[in-house]
Amino acid sequence: MILCKDLCISFGDRAVMDRFSLQIPERGVTALSGPSGCGKTTLLRVLAGLERRQYGTTQGPAPQETAILFQDDRLLPWRTVAQHLTDVLPRDRRSLVPALLALAELEGEEATYPAALSGGMGRRLALARCLALDAKLYLLDEPFAGVDLPRALRILERLKDLPAPVVLVSHEESVLSHADHVIQLDGPPLKRC
């Protein structure tokens, strides 16, 4: 079980979390949903060890065992699609590139630079790069932003086959309905509905 207990985080005077607790299932795809600005991204960043909590504890994979997909793509304009994947894959796992490209439906784009990709393709490349990391927990912040719905649902089904749990943030009803678990959130400060 991935557990957050009594998390307190504030930015200046604004409390994003005030003794927030949550249990996330250890298997399958868990979707987090809630209004913009309620603190979902901050929660993912806390689990990834990128945001320091002022109070509270977390249980589950250590930050160095997690992989986070940021809300923005953060692609490197000077690296090709294939290079984005080989950059994060250790040498002995580089044979996974075709499988990752197939998962994100980017076959045939190996030599393309990000400037030539559409918004949705860029998002899928960022997702494939995140999944290339050998992690025990995948934290995906709006992985299907700009991706057409049928494709997003196909990719979501593939995410369910990953050996590690996936926590994703989405506002899309169809994505939420296809996730294994859905957690409705509200805030700020972040609270479970």
Partner: protein
């Protein structure tokens, strides 16, 4: 779709360079015209050797240049000065880059080195030339001075570049557990490319200016500065113009080579 016949294709192949040439020619032609007219005006106002002493005709300079290029000593002079300036530029760029990394990474290094670099930037180059001449041999002065003038420019440009590297990409490197070498290779160096290009462009011109100025004052042999000094001594103004043109051409050629090396890759990114 209509097929393009070979003749049309060959004409199209010529069209682009021709268009480029037509685009590039008017400005130099204009300034050459201004020079020619000014020389003519001087010729009419002063008479006698006025042109040779004040403003020679472009044709006189071209003649002087052609007669210089034909001698073996010319190439020896050019290579010697090129070697000194290139050595100074290389040392200055490396030192400036190293100082930029140090002052951005370590607050104590910033406090220690930044004021000294600013002093070097503000101090008159002539003072440095005379001091370095006293400390080292005359042959070393141009390279040392070129390096000294280049360091602040490279340091300033790269420091700004390092501070402007996208924090989100650095956070990505941290979250995706990039080793520092990969972070430098994949994030810092490509992000710094425009800053490196700008620094090199400015530094190349500055290295030539300061290096040749040091040669004029210290007279190492053979050197462009030595030749320039003697044109002043013998009031051989067409030759002064010719050596100056050689210096400018060398500076522009070196800058062009560096620019090509740095921009060759970025054209493929499509950004």
């Amino acid at each position: 779709m209509a097929a393009v016949c070979p003749t049309t294709r060959s004409t199209m192949g010529w069209a682009k360079p021709l268009k480029k040439l037509l685009y590039a020619l008017p400005a130099p032609a204009f300034w050459l015209g201004v020079w020619q007219l000014s020389a003519l005006w001087v010729d009419q106002r002063v008479g006698g050797r006025g042109n040779e002493l004040l403003l020679p005709y472009p044709a006189s300079v071209l003649n002087a240049l052609l007669s210089l290029v034909g001698t073996g000593a010319f190439w020896g002079t050019v290579l010697a000065s090129l070697g000194r300036v290139a050595a100074g530029l290389a040392v200055g760029v490396l030192l400036g880059a190293l100082l930029a990394v140090l002052t951005c990474a370590l607050p104590w290094a910033d406090r220690l080195f930044s004021p000294a670099i600013r002093v070097v930037r503000a101090a008159p180059v002539a003072s440095f030339i005379l001091l370095v001449l006293l400390w080292t041999g005359r042959n070393a002065v141009p390279a040392v001075i070129a390096a000294l003038m280049v360091v602040p420019v490279v340091w300033d440009s790269l420091s700004r570049g390092i501070q402007a590297v996208d924090r989100k990409l650095l956070e990505l490197a941290q979250a995706y557990r990039f080793p520092w070498g990969r972070t430098v290779r994949l994030i810092y160096l490509p992000s710094l490319r425009p800053h490196i290009l700008s620094a090199l462009t400015t530094a190349t011109g500055l290295a030539w200016k300061s290096g040749v100025a040091a040669e004029v004052l210290c007279l190492p042999q053979p050197s462009l500065g030595h030749q320039i000094y003697y044109t002043k001594y013998y009031l051989d103004i067409p030759e002064l113009f010719a050596w100056t043109a050689v210096t400018v051409a060398l500076s522009m050629a070196l800058e062009r080579v560096l620019r090509i090396c740095l921009t060759r890759q970025s054209g493929r990114w499509g950004t």
